[in-house]
Amino acid sequence: MSGFHGHSQPPAMAVLDQLLRQYVEYMESLRRESILDDQFTQLQKLQDESNPDFIDEVITLFFQDSERLICSMGTALAKRNVDYKQVDDDVHQLKGSSSSIGAARVKNLCVFFRDCCEAKNLEKCYRCLQEVQQECVLLKNKLNTLFMLQKQIVAAGGSIPVD
């Protein structure tokens, strides 16, 4: 085969190797930045042949829920008499679902957000809401990149490494 001299890999293998390395490095960077934690790995392990779309379904649901909750928080905070209990309930729910998918930064933000609700600090609550929104957008973009890498690995004949 042209270009294959016994010590070097065939081109297809080299491409797959590179993709796998990219994937591992990307996952490590997501963990380093606390965008994802070990819970995401646990989630990946729950996906199998009997449940092949599990991750996709869970992540889709998470972003549907988070958008709804963020909208609800915004509406509640905009009212003349802010119902901090309502905001806190929404934040609590977002905390639960973000921790379930391993979205560590979103979860940690929710912890702080709840403190701000308890203190009934409107300015800080608004800031938290803004940050939660930004973190969810960042998470979505990062996960899209991760899933794209996964698709490329599978298309190249490989399988997704799970810790």
Partner: protein, 154 residues
């Protein structure tokens, strides 16, 4: 509350109330576990179903979206080996539901699963009659530990 509209193949459900999931892959034989997942969050419902299935236990899994549905199910004669109970739910929360179930004489293992982390939030939940309480998220190790305790108890 009735189970009208709930199919035995585990795919359809009475809108908004009770869903039956597919049966999990079978294990080495023995009694099939009956598990009730009580949580208003669909994502958590999915996670907990997947966790129970992934543990390899042969289980029939039902889902109730709040404490009132769970209580009604038990009141209608349904019994469960294991109930995974969320704390914060609309209509009837986990604390009230657990208290109600114990008052009714329900002997199931009731495991609280909550995003709450503060003692003052968790204590009333435990005191309502939980066997144990775990902080979300449940993971495969916690699930296996719960199921192991359950089979020891049986």
């Amino acid at each position: 509350m009735s189970n009208q509209g709930v199919a035995t193949d585990g795919t359809s459900s009475k809108a908004g109330e009770v869903k039956i999931s597919e049966e999990s892959k079978s294990l080495q034989g023995g009694k099939k576990l009956s598990v009730l997942i009580v949580d208003d969050d669909q994502l958590i419902q999915m996670m907990h179903v997947a966790l129970v299935k992934a543990s390899g236990v042969d289980a029939e899994i039902l889902i109730a979206e709040n404490g009132e549905v769970a209580v009604d199910l038990c009141r209608s004669g349904k019994s469960f080996d294991l109930i995974l109970m969320d704390k914060h739910m609309p209509i009837m929360d986990g604390v009230r539901a657990t208290r109600e179930l114990r008052k009714m004489g329900v002997k199931s293992m009731i495991i609280g699963v909550t995003a709450c982390s503060m003692d003052y939030e968790v204590k009333p939940f435990i005191e309502a009659g939980l066997n144990e309480c775990y902080q979300k998220p449940l993971d495969p190790e916690m699930t296996k530990s719960i199921l192991a305790k359950l089979s020891k108890g049986n």
